[in-house]
Structures are given as C-alpha cells and as structure tokens.
Amino acid sequence: MAENRQPILSAKDVEIEFTLRGKVLKAIRKCSLDLYKGETLAIVGESGSGKSVFTKSFLGMLDANGSITGGTITYDGNDISKYKTEKQWMAIRGKKISMVMQDPMTSLNPLKKIGKQIEESITYNQGIKGEEARKMAIEMLSKVGIPDPERRAKQYPHEFSGGMRQRVVIAIAAACRPDILICDEPTTALDVTIQAQILDLIRGLQKDLDMTVIYITHDLGVVANVADRVAVMYAGQIVEVGTVEEIFYDAWHPYTWALLNSLPQLGVKGEELPTIEGTPPNLFNEVHGDAFAPRNKQALAIDFEEEPPFFNVSETHIAKTWYLDPRAPKIEQPKSILSLRNKMKK
C-alpha cells in the first residue's frame, strides 16, 4: 500500500452535538479519520459509540436535532461539514457517496415496485431515463444475484425475503455509481448463512464499480473477512487506526485489547469468558481525559486528567493512548494478543 497517497475523504476533529430533552449530547468528540481510494475501511465499536452518526454526517443525513459543531470534513476539495442547503448535498448524495442502511425490512417503499425504485437511483444519478433505465435496473438486479430479474423487477418488497431485500438495497445504492459506499451493519439483520454471501457480493461490486467501501460493524469476524484498514471507535472518538493485521496482532489501545479479548473464539475452554466491565460514559456530561479510563483495569493517573494525543506505532498505525508515551511505564500487550501473533507467525 502506498502510504503517502492523498486521502479522498478526510475528517479532522469533527464534533457533532444533538439536542435531546433540552440537554446537549456530544455524540462525536474531536473525531478524525482519513479514507484512501479503493480501500475497504472498517469502523468498529460497540452500540452507541457513534459509528453511524459519524458516517451519516458525510451525507448530511443527521437527524433534525443534530448538527456538526466543529471540525472539517474535506471531500473533493470542499469542506462538506459546512454544507447547509439541499442543493449542495444533492451533488454528494448518491453520485459520490452512497449508503446501505441497516434494516432492509423498512428501507424500501412498500407500495412501489422494486424495479422502479432502482430506476430512480439510476435516473437521479446518471440522468438516464425510460427504457434504458429499466434495462439497467434489471441488469443491476442480476448483478446482485437475484434470479429471474425481469420478473422480479415488477414485484413489491413484501414478496422478497430479508436477504434478497438487502441485495435490492445494495443494488439501489450501487446503481448510483458512487465513489464511496458506506455499509452500515449490512449483515446484522440477516442470517449467518446469508452474511457471507452479502459480503462477497459487496466485495464483487466494489471491484466491478471501482468503489471505496466503509463498513460499519461491531462484528470482528466481518472485519477480518473484508477490511484492509480498521478504525476503532469508542465514546464518539476514533481511538486506533491501522491495517487489519496491525489491529488484530499489534493493537495498542486498551479498548482494542478488551474488544479482541472478548471474542469468544479466543476464549479458553473451561475458563470464564472475558468481558469488559462497566458501561460507556454518558455523553451528556463532559468527558475528562481518556474516555475508556474508568473501565481500564490498568489505567494510568494521567488517563483521568488529560486526553491522550495520537501516537504513531508505525507509518500506517496510530493509537490514542498514553501507553505509547515514552514516559509511560513498560506495558506489555495482553497475553491473548501475543499468542495470536505467535500463532500467525507459524
């Protein structure tokens, strides 16, 4: 991987706030992320860490009570975090950045035929109408693996199963021919058996249509399967970014350790499954220092006082933890991670 490419999308110190019940919730706190062309980036984190909110801001799809209150998001030379009007977003949505959402059951208009819904995607983003659009829609359907696409295009969403509906949603998103495709937990609502098919499908489309893909997931198995790079998110911040090998075998942030540790696959038979005790912080309140500190059994005093900056582990790997500060005491990565690395070396 060429390390000094320019990122196609660059988010720096983004802050997003929501007004809820009269109080302000700081959902995203100084979050930074770079996206490079052609890669598959996975954003991992638990529910409520802010993964969806962060990526929705790339499309201007925040809920009405939310707004970007700080930072910049640079795409194609423009700072899209400052976009306010729909006209500005029209240039981005669909054509440049598109999204596959979590729940295929409710993402489709129940009273409209599938074919029509895909055609709309084509018409609004590529300007092709009529018969040609119809043909392209059917082509798209077969590309996503729906058998008998001619007949299926005339059917309604309720005549499709969950997995097939998700394929349709992917078809709609891909038919926009976007540069960046954001997949928000595309397989969470589906059977495990279908999951692999959907992941393969997205991978195929990515190659075919030359897209950059962002996966949002809490499933490390999916990450291992598809990602080139991984970004770990906690309490509204990205805390560690690196290639998929670096994250799995050489992680340095204590939260990443805890995440990897809690994989059932790493558990030892007969021993208690490790979990992360405690709960994420309430983002209605100000967070002092490292957000993960209260739950970290080996926290440093400074974790509670000041927020750590990003430290470089390698050219492609950064982590936001005081452990990497030269003044920090000697810390060893947990046994489970070391053993994983050893296993891989063999």
């Binding site: 499309l59 799809m61 729909e86 029209m90 949505r93 669909g94 054509k95 598109s98 999204m99 959402m101 729940d103 409710t106 993402s107 489709l108 208009n109 129940p110 009273l111 409209k112 709309e120 995607s121 609004y124 983003n125 309604y156 309720h158 949603v169 709609i172 998103a173 038919a175 926009c176």
Partner: protein, 316 residues
Amino acid sequence: MVKYSITRLLQSAVTVLIVATIVFLLMRALPTDYFFTEEEVMKLTEQQKQDRLEAAGLNDPVAQQLLRFYKELLHGDLGKSRRIRVDKPVIEIIQERFPVSMKLGLISLGISLVLGIALGILQVLNKEGPLDHLGMIYTIFVNAVPPLVTYSLVLMFGAKVLDLPSMFSKRNELQSSIMPVVCLSLSSIAHYAMWTRRYMVDELNKDYLRLCRVKGMPTKDIMIKHVLKNAFVPLIAYIPASILFTIGGSLLVERFFGIPGMGPLLVDSIGRYDTPLVQGLVVLYASMSVIGVFLGDVMMTVMDPRIKLTGKGDTR
C-alpha cells in the same frame, strides 16, 4: 379474496337487517294514533280506527308483522307514507328528493377533495410557516365552532356583502346553490386538509424515505413521487362512502337554506311520526353506510398490494 367479499356482504346484510328490525320495533312502540293523519285522528271514531288498524294488519302479533316487513323489504317495498304525503309510496318520495341532495353533495365533495388535499399539501410543504398556520387556524375554526354559527356567518356575509339569495330555489338554482355548497364544503375541506397533512407528515418519518434521500432524490420529488402516493391510499378508502352519503343530504344545511332535499325529509318524518317513511329512510341510511364501508375496503385491497384480507372484523 372473493370468499372474504361474500362473507363481508352477508355480514353487512345482517347488520342492515338488525338495524331495520330495531327501528321497526321502536316504531311499533309508538301509540297507534300515529297511524292516522292529524285530521283522521280527530274525525274518526274509535271503532273506525280499530277497523282500519285491523285492515292494515297492525293488530296482528308483532312477530307476524315483522315477517311481513322483511318480505316487503325483499321485494323492495318500503310501504307508503302516512303523514307527509299520504299514501304515496316511500320509494317514490325518496326518488323525488334525493337528486337535489346528491347534486349539491357531489359538487361539494369534488370541491372539498381538490381544495382540501391541495391545502394539506401546501401546508406540509410550508411546514411551520405562515401558510401552515393559516391552514391550522382555518381548520380549528371550522372544527371547533358549531356549524350553525359558521353557516350563519357565511349567510350574513353572502347575503349582505355578495348579495346572494339566502334561500335555495329551483328557479335561481345556480346562484342560490353557492352558499349551500360553500357551507357543505367548509368542514370537508378542513377534514381532508388535516388528514392529508397528518398522513404526509407520518410518511415523512418512514425509513424508506431515508434511502430515497441517500440515493440523491431532492425533497420535492420525494414528496410527490413517494409520500403523496402512499398517503392517498387510505384516503381513497373513504371516497365511496362519502359519495354514497351525499344521497342522504345534510340535515342542517338543507334546513338552513330551505333546500327540498333528503335532510328535511328525515327530520320532518320523525317529527310527524310518519313511521313507514322513517323506517324506509333508516333502512336506506344503514344500507348506504354499510355498502360504503364495504366498497372502501375493496378499494384498499386494490390499491395496497400488501393487504391480504383475512377474516378480521374491523370498525370504522
């Protein structure tokens, strides 16, 4: 689907029958003097009255009368009016009067639908803006204030400022229909506007709209191509019933403007205890209501591909 329709039709017929029976029995509970016209009551002797009652079969046991009633119903015979128009078949009376009501009603329905839906759409497009608030004020006024008051205000304005005739007359039909139609439409416009607005706002919150936004559709297009279409489906369900109800005419408006329609007929026939007429009208109203609901359900199935009708009963 066919089986469901037939079951529904039968259920409806039973409901109508029950309603008719209840009214029949209630009518029979009235003192028998009401069988005769006011004149006759005074002039005839007791014996003559008894004879006539006997001849008309009104002294027979109730069950027998009931059966006879059903038989007549099946033959489409609604009896003859006793007091409003003596001895004139009820059916003829109805046939004379309902065209007026229906004509005014249909015109009003058409206007209400067009204006009401347009207003609703404008309100949603201009949500929380001045037009939205104006629409809300209108709706509130029409819904809260007693219709009699609103009609009176219309009358005053129309008669004084616009110089419109204050009573309906067949000779000056066009001009004298203006105020009645306006009055009829007022509350319907508000109703359709509110309905449209509420439904569209509901649809606006649905998930599939987010996908539409994501794939780059501008809001205006989303409103028209997705939201409106979806919002119309339940609205359509009420249209057959509304059309049928125009036959019945509006009690208040017709009385207020002196329109010789179905409304005053009902009020008068009750006021003067013309039992056959009352029965006939009740059967008519009940049938209309029931058929209207049924047709509405049918329309829903046609328009909404999701609905696979099962045998669940529902109320309106």
